[in-house]
């Protein structure tokens, strides 16, 4: 394990250090410390840059000295322009060229942060706000939540995230306003997403309370006739999208209760995202 400390006022060059054949640096984000080793300074700088961008500028560089990194990555060039990424203690994967390796690195990093974040519970969910309250749209990949979030922000909803609802113990949901991961021709490049401003929308900067949770999936021609769930039944549905649930169930459940016990929780299939967005806003205008 690497010994770490913190200092956020100095540039990257002040924080990396050499260990064996590797250039190392360490970051802290959402209270999780991560060390990254690479076989060149250029690659190290690039890794920090993509990590910080993926975590929306919230990576704080740590200096060697006083704490222990909880997670470690090693990225090395394996010849012929290929790179090997190792998440120490877990697995190694040779993922090909630099771009693919960087994408894989930031995705695994983001997953780790979402699992182990201190004082926050990450729920896999799209989030927007309307009328000052958040609407959470939990769902797995491919459930259409990014499409729905995009339609909502085009119609004036404030953008929080197309990926995570970041819940705090006080029940508020915080923005994780990354560029939207819009599917294009069957290929998704999450790190080259579309900024919400390009959709004519705005990103939230402040946390808000959760007004509604919409458990829905797209079905061609479906009519929105939702069932309203009790808070308890709604929360157990959201549990299946709650990333740290199997790591810290007690904290996760407490935060879910705090965030969702007063929210309206609806479940049902929906038709086209554009039509549904209008229905959703009409509903919220009546209920919020």
């Amino acid at each position: 394990m690497l010994e770490l400390g913190s200092n956020e006022s100095q540039p990257f060059g002040e924080f990396y250090f050499v260990e064996g054949d590797h250039i190392k640096f360490a970051i802290e984000v959402y209270g999780v410390s991560v060390s990254v080793a690479a076989d060149s300074l250029v690659l190290s700088e690039r890794l920090f840059e993509v990590a910080d961008r993926a975590m929306l500028g919230q990576c704080r560089l740590l200096d060697a000295g006083s704490a222990i990194a909880e997670h470690e990555f090693v990225i090395t060039e394996s010849g012929s322009g290929n790179y090997e990424l190792t998440s120490v203690g877990e697995y190694t994967t040779a993922s090909g060229d630099l771009r693919q390796t960087l994408e894989l690195f930031v995705r695994i990093l983001r997953i780790k942060i979402s699992q182990f974040a201190k004082g926050r519970v990450f729920v896999h969910s799209g989030v927007i706000s309307w009328g000052g309250k958040a609407i959470m749209i939990p769902g797995n990949s491919g459930s259409g939540k990014t499409t729905l979030v995009a339609e909502c922000v085009k119609r004036g909803a404030l953008y929080f995230s197309d990926e995570y609802a970041v819940l705090a113990p006080d029940g508020l949901v915080h923005p994780f306003a990354r560029a939207l991961s819009i599917t294009n021709g069957g290929r998704k490049w999450s790190e080259d997403g579309i900024p919400v401003e390009k959709l004519g929308g705005r990103a939230a900067t402040e946390p808000v309370e959760v007004g509604a949770v919409v458990l829905t999936s797209y079905e061609p021609g479906a009519e929105w006739q939702p069932e309203r769930l009790t808070p308890g039944n709604g929360i157990i549905e959201v549990i299946s999208h709650t990333i740290p649930m199997t790591i810290d169930a007690e904290f996760s459940l407490k935060v879910l209760k705090s965030a969702l016990s007063r929210a309206i929780i609806l479940r049902g299939v929906r038709g086209e995202a554009s039509d549904f967005a209008e229905l959703l806003f009409s509903f919220c205008n009546r209920e919020f």
Partner: protein
């Protein structure tokens, strides 16, 4: 397996959280989440290993101000049992048709809500619900790779370019 008249609520390995009129229970052993409605939660609360089923019915009667039959308590016990929320497994009193019949009869006669235990399994790995994306350089989906596969996403990319358990 026995059929104790004195059921005991399981405590170990559970995370319990009360919400208005319901109790949420998360089973750390199975990663199952349960939601007990008010009646099921009340029965579970009385399952202390010292109180018999008829006595639980009596307590519920005095709490609710209406007559509660032992069969209603058994409906709750059966569901708590199936959800592994009792210390010792019991033989179910009502199963299949017999349970549907009991629910119909008790539902008509009862002034309080029938006990319900709703359950859902959380993904074994949080990664199963996290975004995983297909990527690759060639123009066909066959060359795409689900990039977070090492941490639990499905292994293939389907024709829609979405990570899937099957290739197409």
């Amino acid at each position: 397996m026995n059929n104790p008249q004195y059921p005991t609520a399981r405590k170990a390995g559970l995370v319990v959280q009360e919400v208005p009129d319901e109790v949420l229970v998360y089973d750390l052993d199975t990663n199952k989440a349960h939601c007990l409605n008010k009646t099921a939660a009340a029965v579970w609360r009385f399952c202390d290993g010292k109180t018999s089923v008829p006595e639980i019915a009596q307590f519920l009667s005095s709490e609710s101000g209406t007559n509660v039959d032992s069969d209603l308590v058994w409906l709750a016990i059966d569901q708590l049992n199936e959800s592994s929320l009792l210390e010792v497994q019991v033989e179910p009193k009502f199963q299949g048709q017999s349970r549907r019949e009991a629910i119909r009869k008790i539902g008509i006669a009862s002034m309080i809500a029938l006990p319900i235990v709703a359950s859902l399994v959380a993904p074994k790995s949080a990664m199963a619900s996290a975004s995983c994306n297909c990527q690759g350089d060639a123009g066909t989906n066959n060359s795409l790779v689900c990039t977070t596969n090492p941490v639990g996403c499905p292994p293939h990319c389907n024709l829609a370019g979405i990570c899937s358990s099957t290739p197409n």
